[in-house]
């Protein structure tokens, strides 16, 4: 069976800006892929090229075995980052229209729409006008529009932005269900935590280029912990002095705790023992790298000393601006 998405050397420029550069990606059928990167990294451009909404300047792609998504549009479900509905249209009519545009015009369309609306806790809104719904409800209606025709490939651009935690969890579950049904799922997010929670494969994008493409487990194993989280029993203890201990490269405050960076080749177990012996700890543990850490380490290594704090803000939920203008 061919792969769901194959991109080879995709490049797209807007004027002088290179939005995506030499981008390769293979998403096997049944995969659950997360494309992550800060806002403006080029995620939406990549997705639009996959969908043939934008045409690449250079490179080749195949989607569901077709040379272009045009030929497979009916088998793709898409939730764009810029969400929109026909304000005056009724929810049921809108969903039926979208399904028909995907050639899903069966006799059971109405009942399928009703079932889906119930699944997203929107039972009974079928006859309401779209403009009468709250923003979160509208977003759920759009998710239904993306899945109601049972797509083989589901592409979600920043699906969690603008949702409250309860609905974020609901959406996570529904995406999981679609994946279990057999759909290939590709979604983008600038919030690394979301990717960590659901996907099994992560593609990191930074400034239009792919900086990482691996299984989540592999990434974690590869980026083995080189930091220890330390909280002294006595808040007044001189934790900074731990930097003189063998195997410790640097000690720095991290909120109420301290972050101890290990020297290259130092054994984490040995350092923990020595640290605990020097100052009685209330808490001492190895820090598992989050995707955020991995991203920061890759990006800082590449650009040799970028603004870490700014980057971290861009890939955390707090920077959930989302609505920037870009073609």
């Amino acid at each position: 069976m061919s792969d769901a998405i194959v991109l080879r050397g995709l490049t797209k420029t807007f004027g002088d800006t290179v939005a995506v550069r030499d981008f390769d990606l293979v998403v096997p059928r049944g995969g659950l892929y997360g494309v992550i990167g800060p806002n403006g990294a080029g995620k939406t451009t990549i997705i639009r090229m996959i969908l043939s909404i934008l045409l690449p300047d250079r490179g080749e792609l195949s989607v569901l075995g077709q040379r272009s998504a045009m030929e497979a549009k009916d088998r793709i479900g898409y939730l764009p980052e810029e969400r929109g509905l026909y304000k005056r249209m009724r929810v049921g009519q809108f969903l039926a229209y979208m399904a028909r545009l995907k050639n899903a015009d069966g006799a059971d369309l109405r009942s399928r729409i009703r079932t889906w609306l119930e699944r997203v806790d929107l039972a009974g809104v079928e006859h309401k006008r779209c403009e009468e719904l709250s923003k979160g409800m509208q977003q759920k209606v759009q998710f239904v529009a993306a899945v109601v025709h049972r797509p083989d490939l589901l592409i979600l651009d920043e699906p969690f932005s603008g949702l409250d935690p309860v609905n974020q969890r609901l959406l996570r579950e529904l995406v999981g269900e679609e994946h279990r049904r057999g759909a290939t799922v590709l979604f983008s997010t600038h919030v690394m935590v979301h990717a960590e929670q659901i996907c099994d494969h992560v593609v990191m994008v930074h400034r239009g280029e792919k900086v990482l493409d691996d299984r989540l487990g592999e990434i974690r194993a590869r980026y083995d912990p080189r930091h220890i989280l330390f909280e002294p029993m006595d808040p007044a203890a001189d934790v900074a002095s731990l930097s003189t201990i063998a195997g410790v490269e640097r000690v720095r405050r991290d909120g109420t705790a301290w972050d101890i960076a290990l020297a290259p080749a130092a054994s984490p177990a040995a350092v923990i023992q020595r640290v605990a012996a020097a100052i009685p700890p209330a808490r001492v543990e190895l820090r598992r790298p989050s995707l955020e850490d991995v991203f920061i380490s890759i990006v800082s290594a590449a650009s040799s000393g970028g603004d870490d704090a700014k980057l971290r803000a861009a890939i955390r939920d707090e920077g959930d601006a989302g609505a920037e203008r870009r073609p």
Partner: protein, 465 residues
């Protein structure tokens, strides 16, 4: 193809199914209808009854008597009746019954005539001395005096001494001077004026020793109206309708093109600004979306066209002038609507895709509006001379050609067949060119947000698109 139809269907329902559309399309003809009925009714409102005196300084001594006879209420009323009868004869039957003049009988007839003619003024002719002082006589005309106060006048007539008999050595008759009070009803002024003329003519004729009745008899020829001879027979020539039909057809064409084009622009901008366009583009190609939208609004325009066309046919039917409209013209109207709408509509779709809100579209719309307005400016010269060089040349310049050829086809001297055929070909080429342009702009414009582009940018998109 199925998707295009879905888009067209949604577009049609979303436009023609709104209350605003139904209201607008039904109310406009209704307002026109009400106005047609209301205007004659309003003009029927009685002017205030006028009573007063007309002073005459008459050195000839032969005019005042004739004027007094002319202005007698009974004779005034008789003349008005005569004028009314002539108007009624000239009026088409439908309008006659609409304005309540349709052959009334008995009391109703009296009432209707009275209503239309207004109250007959009561005018009294006062003869002043031949040597009376004109400036003091004018005092009576001042508005400060009530018209019925003693010494007040509605008008002052000063007849020249040589009005009836030429001065020795002169080859021309004298005339008269007329002074009236401010804001005197112009119909009354006209009556008095006519009266003085009539009296002078009467005096001159009898002075020359001729019989007035005989002179009038000899100088009167009955009015006729021309009959148009066609293969179907002879008919009354209706100059007004002959001019009106070409204009109405072209107006209808312009209105429906403009209306559906405008809707296309608005719905495209709406889809773009509420961001629904990206979901649509994941389901169909930009070309499919654009063609679907254009077809949907085409149907809306056709509906408007059919409605107004129907109303027009009903109107013609009630004027018993249906024969004036060649059925082929209706076929041409639909054909040229198709050509004109597709070339203008495609541009509207392109503009709609390029901007973020309606306000930004204004600048880009200017050239389109100009093209649409040209036929209006040229209506007069083209309908006067439908086969002039200008008219022929413009018949081959799309999209103006569609409007111009429609005007010419409906005129009394339609263009030769080859010109019509060439115009259709030119129109079709125009449609192809604007669809090509629009498709390229549409694809790029739809996902372009931010600064609205200018015309040069659109052209660049079309070139590189």
């Amino acid at each position: 193809m199925k998707k295009i139809l879905y888009v067209a269907q949604r577009e049609f329902i979303a436009t023609a199914g709104t209350r605003a559309f139904i209201f607008g399309i039904l109310v406009t003809p209704l307002v026109i209808g009400v106005l047609i009925l209301l205007v004659p009714w309003m003009s029927r409102q009685d002017p205030p009854a006028i009573a007063g005196s007309v002073a005459v300084i008459d050195p000839t001594g032969q005019i005042a008597g004739g004027l007094a006879a002319y202005l007698e209420p009974a004779r005034l009323e008789q003349r008005r009746r005569e004028a009314y009868r002539r108007i009624q004869e000239a009026m088409p039957s439908a309008l006659r019954s609409a304005s309540g003049m349709g052959g009334p009988r008995g009391d109703a007839a009296q009432e209707a005539v009275g209503a239309v003619l207004g109250t007959v003024p009561q005018l009294q002719v006062v003869s002043l001395d031949a040597g009376a002082d004109v400036s003091s006589a004018k005092e009576g005309l001042m508005a400060s005096r009530a018209p019925d106060a003693p010494g007040a006048r509605l008008a002052l007539i000063v007849v020249h001494a040589d009005a009836v008999e030429k001065k020795p050595g002169s080859d021309r008759f004298g005339a008269y001077d007329m002074f009236v009070r401010a804001k005197l009803d112009d119909r009354v002024t006209e009556e008095i004026d006519d009266g003085v003329r009539d009296a002078i003519i009467g005096a001159r004729i009898s002075r020359a020793g001729l019989d007035r009745v005989r002179v009038e008899d000899l100088t009167t020829v009955g009015r006729v109206s021309a009959l148009t001879v066609t293969a179907e027979g002879e008919g009354r020539t209706n100059e007004v309708l002959n001019q009106l039909i070409p204009m109405a057809l072209m107006g209808l064409l312009l209105m429906s093109v403009l209306m559906s084009g405008q809707y296309l622009l608005t719905t495209t901008i709406e889809e773009k600004s509420n961001r629904v366009v990206e979901v649509l583009l994941s389901a169909l190609s930009p070309m499919e979306l654009m063609v679907g939208k254009i077809f949907g609004q085409f149907a809306v325009g056709l509906l408007v066209l059919a409605l107004y066309m129907g109303l027009g046919l009903i109107a013609l039917l009630s004027f018993a002038s249906l024969g004036l409209l060649d059925p082929a013209l209706i076929v041409f109207l639909i054909l040229f609507y198709l050509l004109a709408y597709f070339s203008v509509g495609a541009f509207m779709a392109a503009i709609g895709s390029a901007v973020n809100e309606l306000r930004e579209a204004q600048g880009l719309m200017t050239p389109v509006m100009l093209v649409i307005m040209i036929p209006w400016f040229l209506w007069m010269p083209i309908s006067r001379d439908p086969n002039s060089t200008l008219a022929v040349a413009l018949s081959f310049v799309p999209p103006i050609s569609n409007f111009v050829i429609m005007l010419r086809l409906a005129s009394s001297t339609p263009p030769p067949l080859w010109q019509t055929a060439l115009s259709i070909v030119a129109g079709a080429a125009g449609v192809y060119a604007s669809l090509w342009f629009a498709a390229r702009v549409f694809r790029i414009g739809l996902l372009m947000y931010g600064k609205p582009p200018n015309l040069a940018t659109l052209l660049r998109w079309a070139r590189t698109g």
